[in-house]
Structure formats: structure tokens, C-alpha cells
């Protein structure tokens, strides 16, 4: 009937004619599980230092954006050079609605999703029309236009100084509990994104995306509806980034165009997926944490850190041709995971 059996390398649980196994030998451990556990324990070790907690919260948000950008890159087979556009849309929608109309965070989430969806659908035809450099160009220009708008209509958007006083996502009464809660919320968002993207990549849809990424014409020949997949894989990650922007606005309670729409932020996001390893999904988490830690760690150097930060990143790109994930992948080369192939035409 019911039996529990401990073997050398696994635990076997039998119920009727059903059999469940859990492999405990370390080399078969599922690394994502360990990673998630480490990230769950981490805040309890550093809970006395609010700036470290803020840093790892930021790292989670960065990683969430990078995961979505990776999915978008693989699905559309093009690199979006303006991922911050949707972060900006999400953040500004949440901030403006909250400040001027007094909507609470649940309502702003719904509106943020709708607005990001609308913009993503309106802009999505460019994945079909724009070839080569033009895709990079259009996506590069969109956030610049948005940034310019936040400057021009400064009395509404406050692009330079930032909107502040946005309602917090939750309030537990004590400041240190709030920090912890925000960390876990950001972690939850990141893990949900990771789970969704991971499942997608391993499913039929992921296979079709990988086929499009490898060779669009061949994919079309074998019957993949290329246009549908490209549109979908442009729109859904964009909404994900918009939600990340909503999260930023409600967590840090301030949102400025100059911080989140500028080229500096774009470079940071792109570096996460480059240092993480050419748009590999787990790599983008490592990349997100790496960039956030580096940014915060270098701040101890004083004003020179603005020079050292890009220098370090340049060195990283040179030293790690396949990214940090590539170091792992070298030893586990049999795991197939689609990765970015950028084409020039």
C-alpha cells in the first residue's frame, strides 16, 4: 500500500501502484531549488542592514526584468534595445494613477497591465516589419522619446526630480519588517517570472521559439506560425517588464524618468543578460545579482565608482565570452537551452 524506502541515492515513496522518487545524490539535485532556498534564507542573515536588503531587492527586480528580456530576445530573435521603455510605462502608470487619482496598488496593477498590453500591441508590428539595424533603432528611440516627454511635461511627469510619495505596496508597521516583506515580494515576482519562462521554454511554445531563434525560414517551412509567436513573445515579456515598473514605483515609492528611462539603465539591463550569458534565463538572474552587487559594492569607493563601474563591466564582457552562465554550461554542456543569436539583417 504505502511504503517509504530510503535507498543510497534516492527516497522512493509508493502509494498503490503510484511511485514517487526524489533523488538526493547531490549531482542530481535540481539547482533552481537550491538557488531559491539560498535566496529565501539570505535576507535573514543580513536583516540588520537595510541597505543590503534594498540592494538584493533591487537585484531581484533587475533579474525579473532581465528574465523577461531574455524571453523576448529568444522569441523574437532580435535584441530589444529599449527594455526600459516598458519599465517606464509601468512605473509612470502606477505612479500617476496613484498620485493624481488615488487608486490603490491593486487597481494600478490592473491598469498597468492593460496599458503595457496596449502599448506592446501597438508597437509589436515592428518585430515583423523592421529588419536588422532598424529594429535596434526603433527600440532605442522609443524610450528616448518617452524620456523627452517626461522632461517637456515636467509639471506632470517630473522627469528630472521624480514623482515621490507613491502609496506603499504594504505596510507592516515596522520598518525592518517592511524591508523583509519587500524582499520576499520581489523574490516571489522574480521566481514566478522564472517559473513561467522556464515552463514556456521547455514546452511546445519554447521549442517553436527556439526554432524561430535558430532559423526563421526553416521554422516557417516546418509549419510554425512565426508571426504569431513573434508577436506573442514581444507582447507578453513587455507586460512583464511593465509590471516590474509598477513594482519599482510602489516599492521605492518614487519614480523618475531620468533614472529608469536613460541609456544608463538600458546598459545595465543589457549587461545583465550579456554577463549572465547571452540571454540564458538562469544566467540573467546571476547577471542581475552581479550587476546589483557590483553597483552597490563600488559605492564604497566614493565618487570614482562611476568610472570603475563601467570599466569593470567592460572587463567582464571581455573575460567571459559566454557569460557567467557559460562557466556552468561548460561543465553541463548537454543541457539544451536556446540562446540568443542576433542577426544583422
Amino acid at each position: 500500500m504505502v511504503s517509504l524506502e530510503f535507498r543510497r541515492d534516492r527516497i522512493v515513496f509508493r502509494y498503490g501502484d503510484q511511485k514517487y522518487e526524489w533523488v538526493i545524490e547531490p549531482r542530481y539535485w535540481r539547482n533552481p531549488v537550491i538557488g531559491a532556498l539560498v535566496l529565501m534564507v539570505l535576507p535573514f542573515l543580513v536583516y540588520q542592514y537595510p541597505n543590503i536588503l534594498t540592494m538584493i531587492t533591487t537585484a531581484n527586480i533587475y533579474a525579473a526584468i532581465a528574465i523577461m528580456l531574455s524571453l523576448q530576445t529568444i522569441g523574437t530573435a532580435r535584441l530589444n534595445f529599449g527594455p526600459q521603455f516598458y519599465v517606464g510605462i509601468g512605473g509612470y502608470t502606477a505612479a500617476l494613477l496613484n498620485l493624481y487619482f488615488g487608486l490603490n496598488s491593486a487597481l494600478t496593477l490592473i491598469v498597468t497591465i492593460l496599458v503595457s498590453l496596449l502599448f506592446a500591441f501597438l508597437i509589436s508590428p515592428i518585430v515583423l516589419i523592421a529588419r536588422g539595424l532598424y529594429f535596434a533603432l526603433i527600440t532605442l528611440i522609443l524610450p528616448l522619446i518617452f524620456l523627452e516627454i517626461t522632461f517637456v511635461y515636467g509639471d506632470i511627469f517630473r522627469g528630472e526630480s521624480g514623482l515621490s510619495g507613491i502609496a506603499p505596496l504594504l505596510n507592516l508597521g515596522s520598518v525592518s519588517w517592511n524591508y523583509l516583506a519587500y524582499y520576499f515580494l520581489s523574490l516571489a515576482m522574480m521566481l514566478i517570472y522564472l517559473l513561467v519562462v522556464d515552463k514556456t521554454m521547455r514546452s511546445r511554445y519554447g521549442l517553436a521559439m527556439a526554432a524561430i531563434n535558430d532559423n526563421e525560414d526553416v521554422a516557417r517551412t516546418v509549419g510554425v506560425n512565426v508571426n504569431k509567436y513573434k508577436i506573442l513573445s514581444y507582447v507578453i515579456p513587455s507586460v512583464g517588464m511593465g509590471v516590474a515598473g509598477w513594482f519599482i514605483a510602489h516599492t521605492f515609492r518614487t519614480f523618475a524618468g531620468i533614472t529608469y528611462l536613460s541609456l544608463d539603465f538600458m546598459v545595465k539591463i543589457l549587461l545583465m543578460i550579456i554577463i549572465g550569458g547571452r540571454a540564458s534565463i538562469y544566467g540573467s538572474i546571476v547577471g542581475g545579482y552581479f550587476v546589483a552587487f557590483l553597483e552597490e559594492g563600488l559605492r564604497t569607493l566614493g565618487p570614482i565608482n562611476y568610472v570603475v563601474f563601467p570599466l569593470t563591466l567592460i572587463l567582464c564582457v571581455y573575460m567571459l565570452p559566454e557569460g557567467l552562465w557559460g562557466l556552468y554550461h561548460k561543465r553541463h554542456y548537454r543541457d539544451y537551452y536556446p540562446k540568443l543569436r542576433v542577426r544583422r539583417r
Binding site: 523627452e148 517637456v152 567592460i314
Partner: protein, 290 residues
């Protein structure tokens, strides 16, 4: 009404010429190497801050500092080509990010060493005073900058149309493989293109430094002007760049005279976006140099 029209014409001429000089090097790289040099702003920032550095720290004269700065610029251009463009020509995302990072390193360094309060300025004013054309008054230096811009452009056009190097560059920009078959040393042409493309920003910065607002992050605005002009005229098309520069200059002056100068950047961006969606190959057709 007539006075307004006159101001608009004069200022579109002056700013169009300056924008032409700003975008010339960018279009050149775009046309020949077929890449976006997002670190293009580096040349502008370096032109000012290196000259200032040589003048104040090494106590050199203005002319000597400028010569030294030009040499360093060539060296840095070659370094960027060797380290970034050559290595990552096929990996677009690394190329763009690395070139932008190279710019950020120098811009932040300049900001660290000489923050905006340090009062960096270049004594490159050639002629003081102001010129009156009808009701419009502009300083001589602006006028000289515009004339210089036209002269430099003419020299470049001459190089492209009348010399063998120009012929080779046009060939490379039109058909890379075909020019290789004809025995063009493409690698060497790229080096020449890099060297040539650093010259217009240097001349531009030196002539406009007395009246332009100089700060360590001026490269970004210059880069965005260059990108807009490159898109509007057709990627890397020199003829298109000339037309587009005056178009952007016209848009800027019309918007700032008729409406308010706050909107001039936005209007130019939106015009370019519409251009990209309606006629992506630009005014004069992309993928060729002339």
C-alpha cells in the same frame, strides 16, 4: 512675420550646418562599417576635456594641446576599433553595449576630474563680436562654425567623389562582398573610415566650444542628434545626412521661434519616428554612402 521668417532661415542655416558636422562621422561609420557607434559622443567629450587637461596639467599652449589631443583621439579611435568593432562585428549587442560603456567611462572620468563647477572652457574663439543680417544678430563665432562645417563637408564630399580612397569606401558601403572580389582591402578601409570619422567631431567641438554648453555628458545629446540625422537621411548616406541636418535644424528653429524651445527635441524625435515607420530607408536611401 518677415522678421520671424528671416530668423528662422538664418538659424536653420547655422544649426543645420553645425548638426551636419556633428553627424558626419557617425554617418560615415554607419555607412561603411554598417554599425551604430553608440560611443560616438566620446570624440566630443575628449576633444574638450583632453585639450583642457593638457593645457592645465601639462601647461602646454593651446595649439600644442590641440595637436596632442588629435593624436590621442586617433589612438583611442583605433583602440576602440581594434578592441570592440573588429572583435564583435557579428555580435551586435556586445558591440553596442561596449561602445556605450567606453563613452560612459570617459564621461564619468571627466565628470570626476573636472565637474561642471570647474569651469572648463576652450579659448578657441576666432572672432569676437556679432554679425547683423537684417534684424537677426548672431555672433561671428557661430557664423564661422557654420562656414567651417560647410567647408569640412565639401572636403569630405570631394574625398568620396574624386579620390581613390573615396571610391573604395563607396564600393565597400554598397557591396561588401563585391568589393572584396575586386581586391579591396576591407580591413584597411575600416581603419581609414575610423580615422576619418574622428575628424568632424573634433573640428565641430573646437569651433562650437565658445558658445555651446560644455559639460561631461554633452556626448549624449550629440549622439542623439547624430542618430536622428542618420535615420532621417538614410543610414550612412552622406547626401541624406546633408539634407537631414538642415531639416532637423529647420525643425528646431521653427519650433523654438514659433512655439517654445522646450518642444524642439521632442518634435525632432517624433518626426524621425514617423520617418522610420513610413519610409525606413530614409530620405535618400540607406546602405550606400552617396
Amino acid at each position: 512675420m518677415l522678421e520671424l521668417l528671416q530668423s528662422i532661415i538664418v538659424y536653420s542655416f547655422v544649426f543645420g550646418s553645425i548638426y551636419l558636422l556633428v553627424s558626419l562621422g557617425f554617418s560615415l561609420i554607419c555607412g561603411i562599417l554598417r554599425i551604430f557607434h553608440l560611443g560616438y559622443g566620446l570624440s566630443f567629450v575628449m576633444a574638450i576635456y583632453l585639450t583642457w587637461m593638457f593645457m592645465t596639467e601639462l601647461k602646454l599652449g593651446v595649439t600644442l594641446s590641440i595637436i596632442l589631443m588629435i593624436l590621442v583621439q586617433f589612438a583611442v579611435g583605433m583602440l576602440i576599433h581594434w578592441g570592440i568593432f573588429q572583435r564583435y562585428l557579428e555580435e551586435e549587442e556586445k558591440l553596442l553595449t561596449l561602445s556605450l560603456l567606453a563613452y560612459l567611462v570617459f564621461a564619468h572620468f571627466a565628470n570626476y576630474r573636472y565637474p561642471i563647477t570647474a569651469g572648463v572652457h576652450l579659448p578657441t574663439t576666432i572672432m569676437y563680436g556679432a554679425l547683423s543680417i537684417g534684424v537677426t544678430t548672431i555672433s561671428y563665432q557661430m557664423f564661422i562654425a557654420a562656414i567651417t562645417a560647410i567647408f569640412v563637408t565639401l572636403v569630405f564630399v570631394f574625398i568620396f567623389l574624386k579620390t581613390k580612397l573615396g571610391l573604395i569606401m563607396r564600393a565597400v558601403s554598397q557591396n561588401l562582398r563585391g568589393s572584396m572580389l575586386m581586391g579591396v582591402n576591407v580591413g584597411l578601409t575600416y581603419w581609414y573610415a575610423i580615422i576619418l570619422s574622428t575628424i568632424p567631431p573634433i573640428i565641430c567641438t573646437l569651433t562650437i566650444a565658445p558658445f555651446w554648453s560644455v559639460d561631461p555628458f554633452m556626448g549624449e545629446s550629440m549622439l542623439s542628434i547624430a542618430i536622428l540625422i542618420a535615420i532621417l537621411g538614410g543610414l550612412g548616406n552622406l547626401k541624406g545626412s546633408i539634407v537631414a541636418s538642415y531639416a532637423i535644424g529647420f525643425i528646431h528653429s521653427v519650433v523654438s521661434f514659433v512655439y517654445t524651445s522646450r518642444f524642439m527635441g521632442l518634435v525632432a524625435l517624433i518626426v524621425t519616428l514617423i520617418m522610420l515607420l513610413v519610409k525606413p530607408e530614409g530620405l535618400c536611401g540607406a546602405e550606400k554612402l552617396w
